[in-house]
């Protein structure tokens, strides 16, 4: 077992992990942060997307031991995040949610896209979402929500 210390959503968290444990397992099974979802466990679907030192990563392909000392933000840590709350509202108003399973990962990626590209085109958003699978919506409303949220952020 390896002792690691993470900063998760602004709080310090100490865990004993196996070398094979992923960051995703630590978040869900050790810290009970179940808003980060498990879709494929091989880095292909994006349901487990979290922020690591400010960069969106797939927590299923980040080893827990590699996260030692890092700053992690999960969907649970974004409740008072101004940008995320704007994105959330646009996801709601544009019907960008159906079953909701991809939603937390989608939101984490959406904020990452908007922070990097304040004026994203539809094509850019679609390309940037190429690692996020949504099985329900057909993506159109997610793309629209991200565009309109970005527009609101620019005006703010």
């Amino acid at each position: 077992m390896n002792a690691i210390v993470l900063n998760v959503n602004g709080r310090s968290a100490s865990c004993n992990v196996e070398q094979r444990d992923s960051l995703l397992e630590v978040l869900r099974e050790h810290l009970d942060l179940t808003g980060t979802h498990v879709g494929c466990e091989h880095g292909a679907c994006g349901a487990c997307t979290v922020s690591m030192d400010g960069v969106a990563v797939r927590s299923c392909v980040v080893l827990a031991v590699m996260s030692d000392g890092r700053r992690i933000e999960t969907i649970e840590g974004t409740r008072s995040d101004r940008v995320m709350n704007v994105i959330r509202r646009h996801f709601h108003e544009k019907h960008a949610v159906q079953c909701g399973f991809c939603t937390p990962g989608m939101l984490m990626m959406a904020r990452d896209i908007i922070c990097r590209h304040p004026e994203p085109s539809e094509t850019l958003i679609r390309e940037q979402l190429s690692g996020q699978i949504c099985r329900c919506t057909g993506y159109a409303n997610i793309v629209t929500a991200i565009r309109s949220a970005a527009e609101e952020m620019r005006q703010a």
Binding site: H92, H95, Q98, C99, F101, C102, L129
Partner: protein, 783 residues
């Protein structure tokens, strides 16, 4: 059913969804999110052989107590599955294989440990000794004489052979035009983003087994699971919490469900199994895999006279409870004539067993294959006759004046104007302009193609249709219990299961319309056999018709009582009392519904003498004609395709559809777009391939290709509204339609793009390799 004159406009309003908040906060509760003290994880040992006799299963020394084989589960009663037909060969599907394995991925043993990783460590040490048997993989070859059978005593590898016919096909044998083609829709996975999962424990306080499971129909699942476990149903509570998509695949009793529940009854602590993606791709419900050999008979003027053919549906190794695989074959055959005025049909169907994962339902069930076959055949016929494919459809489509129209496949199309929808997509895509662009050619060497496909979507079908299908479970009604609490807010318990369709919103809209209150005052409760009335769950585009009807009926009963109490409080005659905007009104006087609810629940002394206390009503509902109502539409797409690489880009995608009255148009559009995206996956990307030894080749999202945002276009959608005649508010179900037509429309666009060289696009998915191979073959033929 509405008893008030001024409804508050909840029907037809794009109300934002009540269920979004928990998902947006990351605070939803899927099965994998449940935490129970002492819970342990299960990992399955699965067969690595496609077909073998099991010699023995060796448990690792010292860990015997942590490994469960079939004998360790206790008595398990096997259920007959599939239709109640003497000709259907029903075979047991054991929760854990003990004597024979019939596909790679079949469950053999279950290993338990405090974490999944440790359970997998144990599973790796279990040794499965087998004697390999010859495998049956190819769908059509499975019936070749001399092929070994999957099951002892079978004379061939068919679960059932059946003929679907109407009219007299022999009468058109001399038709001047006869066109024969073969079509294949390959096998695919359903792949909801949340995999399957189950958490189970014995609840000593209630003396019952509690099963949390990602599932679409907990009441029916309880019925099946209780029988297999030998538990009376009142000792089994099945709860489907938030469910991350199902699309049909989470509506069958699966071996893992039985195994985990049986272990929970023995081990004394909660147990959990969460399917991983590899397990889902090799042993979750797989779908499609149809092979058609069809002949169209037609006049030279384009009038189609008859359709004859043979259909093979590859059911995989077992029949899943309750419905089994024959529904896929019979529906495909009955849907082959589509919405066309064809008078003669003869289809021989073969539902065959192979050494692959069992086949189950997936959005559209059977119809994506049937639509692909008939719509491709129609385009081929148009080409043969030198006609525009749109014109050929105009000639043969059922017309508004023909309604109601019974197709030769026996489907009673009820209402609508199909030709108008066809003209709509022609206009939406500005087809003349696209043809001009096509003729000019693209600078980058790509080719432009245009494709059309017409579909129908049977929905809201009940007793008549399901008994016709010889179904073991007949989903002929839904139930709802409406309870008004002392402050006038409402709980409604329903038997369906919302898993992305927005039913917590739309059912509240339906109730709000009857009760005269705001939907925000109404909570919909579903998914728990312990708290909801019996129902069949959400599948087959049925929930809005059936559950919407039950909710409206129960709400109307309750509204009557609210009015009676209101009349008493207002000292007005009952007939003068209406309810709307949260109050009962008589002339200028009104009393808030909250006050009526307070009286009914906690101030019985204020009730009229002939009215009993409490405000609760339960109702069941089935539409008067239970053969079903038909949504329909036309899809059209413009593609650009690279002849060298075979890569297809969807430039435009148009849908003109009619699903009757829309309760919430925003949600209807969401269902259409999501369905079309899945249909695009079927058309271009998704395939569950097996090699000749039965090894599954698509075991990750690296080799099972899911469409992402760059692959899916934006959509143009146009609605027509022809209300159904006999459903509440004239609605029709519409959850599946989007997924039916895309493979046909896209393949037709490809055929159109390469019409000059006659390249054949008759097999899905049309991957870059299949497309470039088809082009190369056609060029070779032309050279």
């Amino acid at each position: 059913m509405s008893h008030h004159d001024e409804p508050d406009g909840w029907i037809g309003r794009s109300l934002l969804r009540k269920e979004d908040n928990r998902h947006l906060l990351g605070a939803s509760t899927f099965v994998g999110d449940i935490r129970m003290p002492g819970m342990q994880d299960i990992a399955f040992v699965r067969s690595g052989s496609a077909h073998a006799r099991v010699v023995d299963i060796e448990k690792p020394a010292g860990l015997e107590q942590r490994v469960y084989t079939l004998a360790d589960l206790g008595p398990i009663w096997s259920l007959d599955s599939g239709p109640e037909m003497a000709s259907f060969r029903s075979v047991p599907y054991p929760p854990l294989a003990s004597d024979r394995v019939r596909f790679v991925g079949q469950t053999v043993a279950a290993c338990m440990a405090p974490t999944r990783a440790e359970a997998e460590d144990i599973a790796q040490q279990v040794v499965l000794n087998v004697n390999e048997l010859p495998v049956v993989i190819d769908t059509v070859d499975s019936l070749k004489p001399g092929t070994g059978t999957l099951f002892d005593g079978w004379t061939d590898n068919a679960f059932v052979h059946a003929t679907i016919a109407g009219g007299d096909i022999a009468s058109v044998a001399g038709a001047p035009v006869q066109l024969r083609r073969q079509f294949k829709m390959n096998r695919q996975s359903v792949a909801p983003l949340e995999t399957r999962g189950i958490v189970a424990w014995w609840d000593y306080r209630l003396d019952e087994l509690v099963v949390y499971i990602s599932n679409q129909g907990p009441h029916v699942l309880r019925h099946g699971l209780a029988q297999t476990l030998g538990l009376p149903e009142h000792k089994l509570r099945v709860i489907a919490p938030d469910v991350g998509g199902g699309f049909g695949s989470k509506n069958r009793l699966m071996p893992e469900d039985i195994t985990v529940a049986a272990i929970a009854m023995k081990c004394g602590h909660p147990v959990r199994w969460i399917e991983d993606r590899r397990e889902h791709l090799i042993s979750g419900v797989q779908a499609r895999e149809h092979y058609y050999d069809l002949t169209l008979y037609a006049e030279r003027n384009g009038r189609i006279l008859g359709l004859k053919g043979e259909l093979f549906v590859d059911a995989g190794a077992y029949s899943l409870w309750p419905s089994g695989p024959f529904m896929e074959s019979s529906m495909a055959a009955r849907n082959l004539p589509g919405p066309y005025r064809i008078e003669h049909l003869h289809v021989e169907t073969h539902t065959v067993a192979t050494n692959k994962a069992p086949l189950g339902p997936y959005r559209g069930v059977a119809r994506p294959g049937a639509c692909f076959a008939i719509e491709r055949a129609i385009d081929e016929l148009a080409h043969e006759l030198g006609m525009d494919p749109v014109e050929l459809r105009r000639i043969n489509l059922v017309r508004a004046v023909d309604m109601p129209f019974e197709t030769i496949g026996g489907l009673s199309l009820d209402t609508g104007d199909y030709p108008v929808a066809l003209e709509a997509v022609v206009e939406m895509l500005d087809i003349p302009a696209v043809r001009a662009r096509q003729a000019r050619g693209e600078k980058d060497g790509r080719r432009i193609g245009i494709g059309f496909a017409v579909y129908t979507e049977q929905s809201g079908h009940g007793t008549i249709e399901w008994t016709k299908r010889k179904s073991r479970v007949v989903p002929g009604y839904e139930s709802a219990t409406v309870r008004m609490l002392p402050d006038g807010t409402v709980h409604i318990a329903v038997g369906i299961l919302n898993h992305g369709q927005g039913l917590e919103t739309t059912l509240a809209q339906v109730a709000a319309h009857e009760l005269g209150i705001d939907p925000s005052q109404i909570s919909i409760r579903h998914g728990d056999t312990g708290t909801t009335p019996f129902g069949f769950g959400t599948f087959a585009s049925r929930s809005m018709v059936f559950s919407g009807g039950a909710v409206a009926k129960a709400s109307a009963l309750l509204a009557d009582k609210v009015r009676r109490i209101g009349a008493h409080l207002l000292q007005a005659p009952l007939k003068a009392v209406t309810i709307s905007a949260g109050a009962a009104h008589a002339g200028r006087a009104s009393v808030p519904i909250g006050e009526i609810a307070r009286v009914a629940n906690i101030r019985p002394e204020m009730l009229p003498p002939d009215v009993s206390p409490g405000l609760e009503a339960t109702a069941t509902y089935e539409p008067p004609d239970s053969g079903g109502v038909y949504s329909y539409g036309v899809h059209a797409t413009v593609i650009a395709v690279d002849p060298e690489t075979g890569v297809v880009e969807l430039l435009q995608y148009a849908v003109a559809e009619d699903c009757g009255t829309m309760i919430n148009p925003m949600i209807v559009d969401g269902q259409i777009m999501g369905g079309v995206a899945q249909g695009i996956g079927t058309a271009l990307y998704e395939e569950s391939r097996y090699d000749e030894s039965g090894e599954p080749l698509a075991t990750t999202f690296g080799d099972y290709v899911m469409p992402c945002a760059p692959e899916i276009p934006s959509f143009q959608i146009k609605h027509f509204v022809t209300s159904a005649r006999n459903t509440l508010h004239g609605i029709k179900g519409m959850g599946e339609g989007g997924a039916i037509a895309p493979p046909a429309a896209i393949a037709n666009a490809l055929a159109d793009a390469f019409r000059d060289i006659g390249a054949a696009f008759n097999e899905t998915p049309l991957t870059p390799r299949r497309v470039s191979d088809a082009v190369a073959r056609a060029q070779g033929d032309a050279a």
